[in-house]
């Protein structure tokens, strides 16, 4: 839809309003449980940003969402709706884990990291390739195929972990803990700049990998020839055809890049924190990525902001569960859902009112330079 809103409204005011509504509704839920929503809100914010530990966790979760958000965004620029980041990240985890298991014992982390990145991205890309290919060549609805692939991925990993990767005698379906080479450095030192003698934090080097990916995605989409093709495909397939852009090729590669980014997400929990591959490394980050991309308007900068917001929800929610026994950990899930609902599905709920407001304002006030065209 053509929106006549000034950028700052479109990019900040509108999401802010949607968020506010989401939080208000969440507050009502808290009230329904019989707790004080304001105190709950404070506990969450304080838990997320009030201490070095909190910040560490917030950024740790945010790292996941940056990756998945970027994954969704790249596909979106190509006019594809990739809701398979969940599965792609899980399969990417396999790649990362294998790299760490194989090399971890022999070489230091800074040699394992490139391999882990390569394999994580490759495995994720492979999982994004098929839906992309089926969409491009056989016209299968990418949304449906990616959903299906999420479940297929889960079964596959389940089988691999249970029957192949699990050390004999171990109960949990997990790989063995990696040797030192499979451990990414933590950013404890960095966090201690915020005071507090932290002994440990999950926040690790992959946070910077995520930021690097943000830059690379920006570069890809807005500064490369292929990015140009992607955007043309996404905005006008017919114009792309006219321009001689190969639709199938563009779609497939875009989906592979998307899957690759999702796959890299595994770096954070697997190599960065757990140092082993478990079945629940993704935990809905793939779906949160959709909301993150939507709220971040598919721009890396917006994605970082939105990711930190959701990171806050995750961490703050956990702290909430610590301090408000009646509120269980599931509060987070509810808030997430509401944020996705209001900031995502209902994002245009207030757009008409705002457009009316601003069009009347600018009829009275300043006329933009587009007026008097031709």
């Amino acid at each position: 839809m053509t929106n006549t809103l000034p950028p700052w409204v479109n990019y900040f005011l509108l999401p802010a309003i949607n968020l506010l509504v989401a939080f208000v509704v969440s507050g009502l839920v808290v009230v329904a449980i019989g707790e004080n929503p304001l105190r709950a809100a404070w506990l969450m914010v304080d838990g997320a940003f009030g201490s070095a530990r909190g910040i560490g966790f917030t950024l740790f979760y945010a790292t996941n969402f940056i990756f998945t958000g970027l994954a969704v965004a790249v596909a979106y620029h190509c006019g594809l709706f990739n809701i398979g980041a969940e599965g792609q990240a899980l399969v990417g985890g396999l790649g990362v884990a294998l790299a760490c298991l194989w090399l971890g014992a022999y070489v230091p982390w800074w040699l394992v990291l490139p391999a882990a990145i390569a394999m994580g991205a490759a495995f994720g890309a492979a999982w994004g390739f098929l839906p992309g290919y089926l969409q491009a060549k056989r016209g299968s609805h990418i949304v449906i195929t990616t959903i299906m692939f999420n479940f297929i991925a889960a079964s596959l990993m389940n089988w691999l972990l249970v029957d192949w990767l699990r050390p004999t005698g171990q109960m949990a379906p997990e790989t063995a803990v990696f040797a030192d080479g499979g451990w990414l450095p933590k950013l404890t030192g960095l966090l201690n700049l915020f005071g507090a003698g932290l002994r440990n934090t999950p926040l690790n080097l992959s946070f910077f990998v995520a930021l690097l990916c943000c830059f690379l995605v920006w570069l890809l989409i807005w500064r490369t020839r292929f990015g140009y093709s992607i955007r043309t495909m996404g905005l006008s397939p017919s114009a792309a055809k006219y321009a001689g852009i190969n639709p199938a090729r563009t779609i497939v590669i875009a989906m592979m890049i998307s899957g690759g980014l999702a796959g890299l997400m595994a770096l954070n929990p697997v190599m960065g924190d757990l140092h082993r591959l478990t079945l629940d490394i993704v935990q809905g980050a793939g779906f949160v990525g959709i909301a993150v991309a939507l709220m971040g308007r598919n721009h890396p900068f917006g994605i970082v902001l939105a990711s930190i917001l959701f990171g806050m929800l995750y961490q703050g929610g956990a702290e909430l569960a610590f301090d408000m026994p009646t509120i269980t950990r599931d509060m987070i899930v509810v808030i997430q859902g509401l944020v996705i609902l209001f900031a995502g599905a209902l994002e245009n709920m207030f757009r008409p009112q705002l457009s009316r407001l601003f069009s009347t304002m600018h009829r009275r006030g300043v006329a933009p330079e587009t007026e008097g065209a031709a």
Binding site: R53, F57, F60, N158, V162, G169, M171, A172, P173, E174, V177, R199, N200, P202, P269, D273, L274, R276, T278, L279, D280, I281, Q283, A318, A321, F322, T328, R329, I332
Partner: protein, 307 residues
């Protein structure tokens, strides 16, 4: 003050974690001082909870369930002067007490009762996640059954291969139903939340169920033969009190029939279905096991079941 970190099932799982919760509650009542607890939601939170409690100076910190092993391993090293305890798994650290139960012994007793209660000479076992620990339950149970009736049949099913298998009562119900339809009239579950469905199905069909971990007899009075209880509550209670009185010793603690760490629950909910003969048989077996005269096979020792 002491702290407790539950496994994913949550402290109200009517089973394993709830047993731990009960132990902590008992400590609270008897000593009057408070404790803190937390239900983990995801892998990161295991470490997060343990560290947070440690940093807040809680002592001892008890972790429920083998899934906490890796986390304890890490955190125990970071906080050498905090006492930790883990249940159902062994962590080799100077400041960790590893509490394991001889589930096979308890299951053996349950098996005896099942065999005696069964009229079809077919009894069922529904396991949760298919892991050695659960096969250990199954094996001991089988042993008990066979010990009473050599040609009784034990129908054995596992629910799944992932932690999800602990919380899928629908599947549990399905398994129980099919076991019942193929003749089983007593069903023992070692499946956490999934077991709720198993016991439900048994009750629905007017058959007998056997609970696990904590005393589940009250779930379906009259349709519960008994519950194979792991005294996780005692383990937690002891850990808390001993730490308080400064006599918290670390290392491996294996609780079996002898230590009264495992057993079968008798209360008014199942007194109508438990016959005096069963009582005798169970007590006899208990005595033998305690005296070492009877050695129930531990599946995890050699990953196979002779019965």
């Amino acid at each position: 003050e002491p702290a407790l970190v539950y496994d994913m099932g949550g402290k109200n799982d009517k089973s394993f974690n709830e047993a731990a919760f009960n132990g902590a509650e008992r400590y609270k009542e008897e000593t009057g001082n408070d404790y803190r607890d937390f239900e983990v939601q995801n892998e990161q939170q295991r470490g997060q909870a343990l560290r947070r409690f440690a940093e807040d100076g809680n002592n001892p910190i008890v972790a429920i369930g083998f899934s906490q092993q890796a986390a304890i391993e890490e955190v125990a090293q970071e906080f050498p002067d905090t006492d930790f305890a883990i249940i159902d798994s062994v962590v080799d650290q100077p400041n960790v007490r590893s509490i394991v139960f001889k589930e096979h012994e308890g299951s053996y007793l349950a098996g005896i009762m099942a065999a005696m209660a069964s009229e079809s000479n077919k009894v069922g076992f529904v396991g949760g996640m298919d892991i050695p620990l659960i096969r250990k339950f199954a094996c001991g149970y089988k042993g008990g059954v066979k010990s009473f009736n050599e040609d009784a049949e034990v129908i054995e099913n596992m629910t799944g291969t992932t932690p999800a298998a602990w919380g899928d009562p629908v599947k549990g119900g399905e398994l129980a139903k099919s076991q019942i339809e193929s003749g089983a009239d007593v069903i023992f579950h070692a499946a956490g939340g999934t077991g709720i469905g198993v016991l439900q199905a048994a009750a629905d069909a007017g058959k007998l169920g056997i609970g696990v971990d904590s005393n589940q007899n009250m779930l379906h009075p009259g349709n519960m033969l008994t519950s194979m209880i792991k005294r996780v509550d005692n383990a937690v209670f002891d850990a808390f009190t001993e730490a308080e009185s400064g006599e918290f010793d670390t290392g491996i603690v294996a609780l079996g029939v002898k230590e009264d760490g495992v057993g079968v629950a008798m209360d008014e909910n199942n007194k109508d279905v438990v016959t005096p003969e069963m009582m005798e048989a169970v007590d006899a077996a208990k005595a033998k096991i305690a005296s070492g005269e009877l050695e129930v096979h531990d599946y995890m020792a050699d990953s196979n079941c002779p019965y």
